[in-house]
Structure formats: structure tokens, C-alpha cells
Amino acid sequence: MSFIDQFAEQWQAYRKPGYYDKFDYAWTMTIDLDRCTGCEACVTACQAENNLPIVGEEEIAKGRTMHWIRIERYWEGEYPDIKLRFIPMLCQQCDAAPCETVCPVSATYHNQDGLNAQVYNRCIGTRACAVYCPYEVRYFNYQTHHWDTPLDQQLNPDVTVREKGVMEKCTFCIQRIRLAKDTAKDDGRRRVRDGEVQPACVQTCPTEALVFGDRQDPDSAVAKQLNDPRAYRVLEELNTAPSVVYLKKVEVDAGAR
């Protein structure tokens, strides 16, 4: 093969959008809004698992929350015919993530699991990713946070404690995914079994509204959820191709019942 041919082949490869089609997994979460009650157990579970700081009243008053998963609430109607709808909002792990393209130092990129990974060490804190993220799920460390002793003894050793000046966000509990993959490897399996790994929020959800798994596996619980006719993605018109899929809330007209 001549050099030109080799070059052409390489060029083709690097120009192909699907150059990365050999992702090991495609982790996906579905959130059933008809099950979600807004109890926020997921929020605390995430805070415990991922060493999220306690930012304090003053910081929250300034608008600097640090919950990787948060519950958004929207009122609909007026008293007495009023509804409150909850929607958990976390990093959507977009396949076409706007935050990834904007990072000048590639501190955020797509990893081999199809996850939108954030490399704290590489982050220089331009905060551009937070601007580019339409879901507002990237959180910036406005200062180095401290834990009152001995609260720091709870910190999860599998997760970095972030310092001031870096961006952070939901990782789908990548440390658990790593562990599950290691376990699978130790067991001589090629792949992680469905249900073997769950992020902290999914694990704790009292209504089982959150389901997590690999959508490449057609038998996985999450892949089945994706076939639900209620499945949709938030802000789908922005073409960010999120890996978090919501199942529509069901509202039956009370008069019709």
C-alpha cells in the first residue's frame, strides 16, 4: 500500500464521525417522571458518594449550589387546580456534548464508556463548559471547601476531593463503574452484567424511578425502558444526544376519570 493510500485511509478514519463506535459500553439512565416524587434521596446519596462539599448558607444565597443531581420543580396551573412537577436534573452525559468541544484543554471529553468525563487535574477553570451546557449541571468550585472535623472521615477514598478553581459534575459514579469492570475482569467475564453497577442516586431511589444500565445490551432493564413510548429527552431540539432519558409524567385529566 502506498503512502498516499495509507494517508487516505487514515484520513477517512479520522474524518468518520463514528471513529469511536467501538465504545465499550453506552451507559444510560432513564428517569421515570411518573414515579419521581421529588423526595431528594438521590441528592443526598450523591453528596455522600461523591464527596460533594457542604457549601453553606451564604454560598447558596449567592447561587452556588453543589448538587450534582438536583430536583427541578415546576408549578402548573393555579389553586385549586394546581400541579407541581418534579424533574431530576443531572449531567445528561451527552454524546454530542457542547461542553466537550469548548474546553480549551480537553479537561472534559468522552471516555471509552461513552461517558462525559471530567478530568479535574487538567481543568483550568475557564467555566466555558458550564456556559455551554444547556442543562446547567456543571458546578464550579468557587473555593476550596472544607469539612468540619470529623465529617471529613466520611469522604469516599475512591473519589477525588476537588480544589478551588475546577469544574465538576455528575460522573455516573464512574468509580463504581470502574469497580464493576474490574470485578468482571477478575471473574473472567468480558462485560459487566446488567444491574451489577448502579450510581448512588439510582441505588437509593425509593420509588425506583431511576434505572441505569448499558443500552448496548438489548436485554438490559434500561434498554427496555428506552422502548417505552413515554421516553423522551429534555431539550432534545438542541441535538446534544443525551444519555439520560426521561419517561413522561402521566397526567390523567381528573374530569375524564
Binding site: Y20, V43, H67, F86, P206
Partner: protein, 768 residues
């Protein structure tokens, strides 16, 4: 030259400043994080660096008793996860349960025994040794026991179950004392009474939400705070979407929308205290259309006057709406009615709950899937319901103290000074008790009044066992074991009691050296029952510890349940009574348990302080919820501070305009307003319990905590509410999308997941 010197000086300053900055940046870029070595020279058993160890235990953050699995690393608890084997929680944990770690590692924990050396209630606590502290308490107890004055001893505990409750019983019995009170603010006294009256049941039933098709909840915030929220949530979720052919329909009747109200399909703002009328109107419909029991005539006679039209005015809902709910309830395959919570905390609470529970009887769901299942006796320990203190019992205790009839008060982890209204005058009563001993882990309000503090372990450091109350329809026992070695010089509650017993000379009656031994001994009995002695106890015990839970799948027979005609005839809800005249006090105060902080117990956990309120997203504070209409009438907007005045006191808090509350009701969350209880809780927000009137449900003596009227006055002050949410309307952006019904599974997909985007990543499935 002076000129030049100044210039030189400025240059130096400039250079120095820039140099300092550069140096700082250099140091930032090259610094190494602080590192600790593995904290053990000689590691304990089961310790392996870098490898997590899981321990099954029981959550004690509330009385539901969910099973938990605690992940530990290097001897430290890292994460609380649900124990999938436990029938109550089945792997799920709520926010409060997750935050149990912060109870363990709370920076404000009491680290060792303390005695008050100065005036009671002051900061004059000094450290002491366990021997000395126990000695002082033991001395008093011995003297009283010797004098046969056991009735001058009172043990006031949080609601505990299992063998710790039994140990308390034994200890008090040995002392000749009968003042053993379990006190929980939100204990469903009235529900027990209603079940007792209607069905003759002494225990709470199990509500099978997961198989229910149509659920009406009268005020019970079952998904967030009521009795066993995690288990109810599991049921709710499964009822909604786990069955292929059915989706549970939920109706919530309450004056202020709770978390459960938001999750429900229909929220009906009945007037406060009229939930029972509503239920009776449905009951009448059931008798008319569905109920075919032998006592139908009695029911028909008793319910005849409760037509939807006749109750509509009092309930303040259109008769047609009540009618429609009744029809649906009667027509659904598996209908279920539950009642409780703030909405059922009026002076007519028992009657209301009788009416609600009658619905279950009339719809015939007793013992059926999606219905009410009665519980057997607890698997471990004993039934403590008789020991649960009502407001009346607490008043009697206070009266006794004032009369000088109490010499020793031992308080275990309960905080009546926070959860009793000021009208109870409990603080003053405490002053009359010569010796107050607190076994709390935290410096709460009641502990601050103690003379001797014998701090107990948190539940993650102690041995214990638990039988969920209410159960899940069959006997369940769970063992809670220490997951970390004790952080401080504290002792498990059981150990403290046993040590006191030794001080008093009860070595023979209570011979166990520790709670662990007591527990093992007690479980030997269960072992004997279960296995008939075929396997060794040690194996059994190890298996129990490993599983964390043990259950026996034996249900109850429901055929025998019947309602006596006397009870049927006496069914009547009655008008709720409110303290305060409507003219002077135009609003009904609706205090409700906060989703995360509950009755205030979660206020010292920073995760929960920082957890946005489920409905308003407010953090770290208290607020008054006003209907927009009410707010407009008063001319106030969000953040304006109002005085809330009842006939029994006054508190001030900022307004939050809450679109889903009745205009004649104002709501304030319970949980904040601590004056003690550590750095995260202290001096934050207000405690609405303080200004409650001492209204009681007459039969049980339970506090009718939503039976107080208040008036609002503007203070002219304004604060910015600290909340995480912004605009609370969707503005037509279709973020939470709505399906009008649930099409069956397998229909055309509305989302093609794998490649909606032109350039999304193609999916290849590799064979496993």
C-alpha cells in the same frame, strides 16, 4: 532625592507585589495534596486497605426501621446503602437515612460523659469519667429503689423497638418504676386508636400500595414523612409502573400540598378537619353501590346523612368532585384509603381516621393485594405502643414534676423541649426535677438542661435489633451491628442501662456485661423457635448478621376481622375545634414535618440543612407558606417577614408564596428553630410547635397539632429566602413532558434512542 527614593520604593512595592503573586501561582501549581498514611498501625479484624467492607444494619434515623448496608473503608463508614434483602426498604434509602453518616461523624457530638457544675442549662458542663457519672446516677437510683420510691424515676426515651425496649422495661421493672415513656412528636397515636376502635387491632396495619389501583390519602404524606416513607415510595413506584396492565391512581386530600400531594394524580384541598366528612361521603357511596356485607343496614343507617351534597360545603369542595372520587374508589379493582399526618391532627382525629379506615373495610380490601394487611406480633422485642407518650401523658409528667413527684428523669435521645409546645411548660417542669440524666449523642435542647450527660453511641456504633413497626404483614427482625469502632468515649444506650443496673445492684436480674451479650442471649430464643435447634446458634447468628435481617413468611388470617355494630352506629366525625377565635385569628396554622429534617432531628446534619426543601427549594431556614391570594390580601411578597401569633405565642418568619395551599391556611415546616443541637442547627429559622395551642384529641390525648388558629402581622422586615430554585414555571418550554395516558408497552417508540442525532455514536453490541 526624596522624589527618587519614593519612586524606588514604589518600584520595589510593585516588583514585590508581582513577585508575591508569581510565587503564589508557582506554589499553587506545584503543590502536593496533604496525604495521610493508613491510620492503623495494627489494623483491626476484617480490615484491608483499599478494600471496602459492607455491614448490614438497621437505620435508626426514624422509626421506620429500613435495612441498610454500610460501606466502610479503612475502618471508616463511607456510605449508607439500602439492604436489598430487607423487606421494608428493599435496597432504597431516603435522604435522612443517607445522612446517618453525618450523625456518626457529626462535629458537635458529645464526646464523653459530662456533669453540669454550674446552673442548670448553662454552659457549665465539665468532663468526667464514666465511673463517676454512672456512680452519681446509680447512687440516686439505688436510694430510690431502696426506699421503694421507684415511681419517682422516669425514663423518657425516643421510640425504640426490639430488645432495647425490652431492656428498658426490665430495668424499670427491677427498679420498681413504671414511668417509662416513649416519646415521638409524630407518633401516630390517633391511628392506633382508630384501628383499635374499628378493628380491635393494637398494631398498625400494612398498606399494600404496590398492588393498589386507586389510593386516597387523607393527609398522610406517606411518600415523605409518614410512618415508613421509603416503603411507601417503593409501593407507589411499583403501583404506578411495575405492572403491565395497570397504573395506580393516587388522590391526596389535604389543605396544603405535600410531597405526596404533588406525586398524586389529584390533589383536593379539603377544609382542615373535614377529611373525615369526605371519607364518610365516600363510605356512603360504597355502602350504596358496592358493599354487600351482612352489616350493610347498620352502615347504611349510620352513613345516610353524609351525602356528597351535604358535606360539600363543610369540606369546601364541589359535591360533583366528591361524588366522582367516591365513584372511582368504588369502581376500582384495588382501592385503598390511608389517613394520617398533619391533616389528620385535629381534635377529631380518631373519628376521622375511623372514617378513613372504614373505607378499607367497606371496599373489602382487608388482607387482599392492594389493600390493608394486618400485622402479626413483632418478631423481636415487644409491642411498645402502650408505652408511647401522648401529649396528655407528657403533661401529666410535667405536672408530676411540678408537684415534686419526680426525682430522676433519664432522657434517651428524645427532645421534648423542642417538640412540645411552649404551652406544655415542660422547661419549667424540668427545673423541678432534682436529677436529669441525658443519654443523647448530641447537645440538644433537652440535653442542655441535664445534670449528667451519659452520651450514647450513634446507631452505627452500637448493637441492637429492630422489628419494623408497622411491619410488612409478616414477622421481620433485623439486627443492627456496629460498623465502625466508637469514635469517642461514648457507650451504647444498652450498655449504659446495663452499667446503671450494675450500679444499682441488679447484677442478677440483668446479668449481661454488654448489650451485645444481651442481644445474643435474646436471639437464642428466636433461634430455638426458628430452627428447632437443628443448626448451631453461632451459624445462625453469623447468618443473621450477614443478611442483616430475618423474616418469616407467615401472614395473618383476615377472615375474622369484623366491625361491631356499636362502632358502626357511633361513626361520626364531629367538628374540629380550633384554639383561637376566627375573627381574631383568621388562619389555621398547619405545621408539617419537613421532608429532610422531620421533627427537627435532622437539623444538625449539614447535608439535610443543605437539601433543598422538596416543594420550595428553600435551604437552611424556615418560612411561612401563604396562598398567593392571601399574600395579595396582606400585601406581602416572598421574603417579607411576618409575625405569626397564636393565643399561645408568637414567632416571626419570612413569607413564601405557595401556590398550593388553601387561602385560609398557612403552613410552616417543622424542623428548624433549634436553640441548641450543634452548629448547623442552632439559631436557624423558627419552630412552629412552640406556638401551638395545647389542643388534644379527647380520646387519646394526642396533640392536635394542626388545631391552632393564628393571625399574621407585618413586621416591615424583608429577607431574601435562601433557595436553590429560580423561576418555578415552565413557561411553555416542555421540560417535564406529559403523557395523557399510559399506552401499553411495546407500542411505537417516541424516542429512537440509539441515533437521534445525525452524528451520534453508532452502537455495536458485543456478544458477552
Amino acid at each position: 532625592m526624596a522624589n527618587i527614593e519614593r519612586r524606588d520604593f514604589l518600584k520595589l512595592v510593585g516588583a514585590g507585589g508581582i513577585g508575591a503573586g508569581a510565587g503564589f501561582m508557582l506554589s499553587e501549581s506545584t503543590k502536593h495534596p496533604l496525604e495521610y498514611l493508613v491510620p492503623y498501625a495494627v489494623p483491626p479484624e476484617e480490615f484491608s486497605s483499599g478494600i471496602a467492607t459492607w455491614y448490614n444494619s438497621v437505620c435508626s434515623m426514624c422509626s421506620a426501621g429500613c435495612g441498610i448496608t454500610v460501606r466502610t473503608r479503612e475502618g471508616r463508614a463511607k456510605k449508607i446503602e439500602g439492604n436489598p434483602a430487607h423487606p421494608v426498604s428493599q435496597g432504597a434509602v431516603c435522604a435522612l437515612g443517607q445522612a446517618g453518616l453525618q450523625a456518626l461523624y457529626n462535629p458537635d457530638r458529645l464526646t464523653g460523659p459530662l456533669v453540669q457544675n454550674a446552673e442548670r442549662g448553662s454552659a457549665g458542663f465539665v468532663k468526667t469519667t464514666w465511673d463517676e457519672a454512672l456512680g452519681r446516677v446509680g447512687e440516686t437510683l439505688s436510694a430510690l429503689k431502696a426506699a421503694g420510691q421507684g415511681d419517682r424515676i422516669c425514663l423518657l426515651t425516643e421510640g425504640v423497638g426490639g430488645h432495647l425496649a425490652e431492656l428498658f422495661e426490665r430495668f424499670m421493672a427491677e427498679l420498681g418504676a413504671d414511668r417509662l415513656l416513649h416519646y415521638e412528636f409524630a407518633h401516630p397515636q390517633t391511628l392506633y386508636a382508630a384501628n383499635q376502635r374499628l378493628f380491635g387491632e393494637t398494631r398498625l396495619p400494612y398498606y399494600d400500595l404496590q398492588n393498589a389501583d386507586y389510593v386516597i390519602s387523607f393527609g398522610a404524606d406517606y411518600l415523605s414523612t409518614w410512618i415508613s416513607p421509603v416503603h411507601h415510595s417503593l409501593g407507589f413506584g411499583r403501583s404506578r409502573h411495575a405492572r403491565p396492565d395497570a397504573r395506580g391512581y393516587f388522590v391526596q386530600v389535604e389543605p396544603r400540598m405535600s410531597v405526596s400531594g404533588a406525586a398524586a394524580d389529584e390533589w383536593l384541598a379539603a377544609a382542615p378537619g373535614t377529611e373525615g366528612l369526605f371519607a364518610l361521603a365516600i363510605a356512603r357511596h360504597l355502602v350504596e353501590k358496592r358493599y354487600r356485607g351482612a352489616d350493610r343496614d347498620a352502615w347504611a343507617a349510620a352513613l345516610d346523612r353524609y351525602t356528597p351534597a351535604s358535606v360539600a360545603e363543610a369540606v369546601d369542595l364541589p359535591a360533583a368532585r366528591i361524588e366522582r372520587v367516591a365513584q372511582k374508589f368504588a369502581a376500582s379493582k384495588a382501592s385503598l384509603a390511608i389517613g394520617g399526618g398533619t391533616a389528620c391532627s385535629h381534635t377529631n382525629a380518631v373519628a376521622t381516621l375511623v372514617a378513613v379506615n372504614a373505607l378499607n373495610y367497606l371496599v373489602g380490601n382487608l388482607g387482599k393485594p392492594g389493600g390493608v394487611v394486618f400485622n402479626p406480633e413483632p418478631a423481636v422485642g415487644r409491642d411498645t405502643q402502650a408505652r408511647h407518650a401522648t401529649y396528655r401523658a407528657m403533661r401529666e409528667l410535667a405536672d408530676a414534676a411540678r408537684a415534686g413527684k419526680i426525682d430522676v428523669l433519664i432522657v434517651n435521645n428524645t427532645n421534648p423541649l423542642f417538640t412540645l409546645p411552649d404551652a406544655a411548660e415542660f422547661a419549667a417542669a424540668l427545673q423541678e426535677i432534682p436529677l436529669i440524666v441525658s443519654l443523647s449523642s448530641f447537645p440538644d435542647e433537652t440535653t442542655a438542661m441535664a445534670d449528667v450527660i451519659l452520651p450514647s453511641h450513634t446507631y452505627l456504633e452500637s448493637w441492637g435489633d429492630h422489628s419494623p413497626e408497622p411491619g410488612v404483614g409478616f414477622p421481620v427482625g433485623a439486627v443492627s451491628q456496629p460498623v465502625v469502632s466508637p469514635l469517642y468515649n461514648t457507650r451504647a444506650t444498652g450498655d449504659i442501662v446495663l452499667a446503671l443496673a450494675r450500679q444499682v445492684g441488679l447484677d442478677e436480674a440483668l446479668p449481661w456485661p454488654s448489650m451485645e451479650d444481651y442481644l445474643r442471649d435474646s436471639w437464642r430464643t428466636i433461634h430455638a423457635q426458628v430452627s428447632g435447634g437443628t443448626e448451631g446458634f453461632d451459624t445462625f447468628w453469623r447468618d443473621i448478621l450477614r443478611a442483616g435481617v430475618w423474616g418469616e413468611d407467615t401472614g395473618r388470617d383476615h377472615a375474622s376481622v369484623s366491625v361491631s355494630r356499636n362502632v358502626i352506629a357511633s361513626i361520626d366525625v364531629g367538628e374540629p375545634e380550633f384554639a383561637g377565635a376566627e375573627e381574631t385569628y383568621p388562619f389555621v396554622l398547619y405545621p408539617y414535618e419537613s421532608n429532610a429534617l422531620r421533627d427537627g432531628r435532622g437539623a444538625n446534619l449539614p447535608w439535610l440543612q443543605e437539601l433543598p426543601d422538596a416543594m420550595t427549594s428553600i435551604v437552611y431556614g424556615s418560612w411561612i407558606e401563604l396562598n398567593p391570594q392571601t399574600a395579595a390580601q396582606l400585601g406581602v411578597k416572598e421574603g417579607d417577614v411576618l409575625d405569626v401569633e397564636s393565643p399561645y405565642g408568637k414567632i416571626a418568619a419570612p413569607v413564601y408564596v405557595y401556590p398550593a395551599i388553601r387561602p385560609d391556611v398557612i403552613a410552616i415546616p417543622i424542623g428548624q428553630g433549634h436553640t441548641e443541637y450543634g452548629r448547623y442547627a442552632r439559631n436557624r429559622g423558627v419552630n412552629p410547635i412552640r406556638i401551638l395551642a395545647p389542643q388534644m384529641e379527647p380520646e387519646t390525648g394526642a396533640l392536635a397539632w394542626s388545631a391552632t388558629r393564628v393571625k399574621l402581622t407585618r413586621t416591615g422586615r424583608h429577607v431574601e429566602l435562601v433557595k436553590t430554585g429560580g423561576e418555578s414555571r415552565e413557561l411553555g418550554r416542555d421540560i417535564v413532558q406529559i403523557a395523557s395516558s399510559t399506552p401499553a408497552q411495546g407500542e411505537a417508540r417516541s424516542v429512537a434512542l440509539q441515533s437521534t442525532r445525525l452524528r451520534s455514536i453508532p452502537i455495536t453490541v458485543e456478544p458477552t
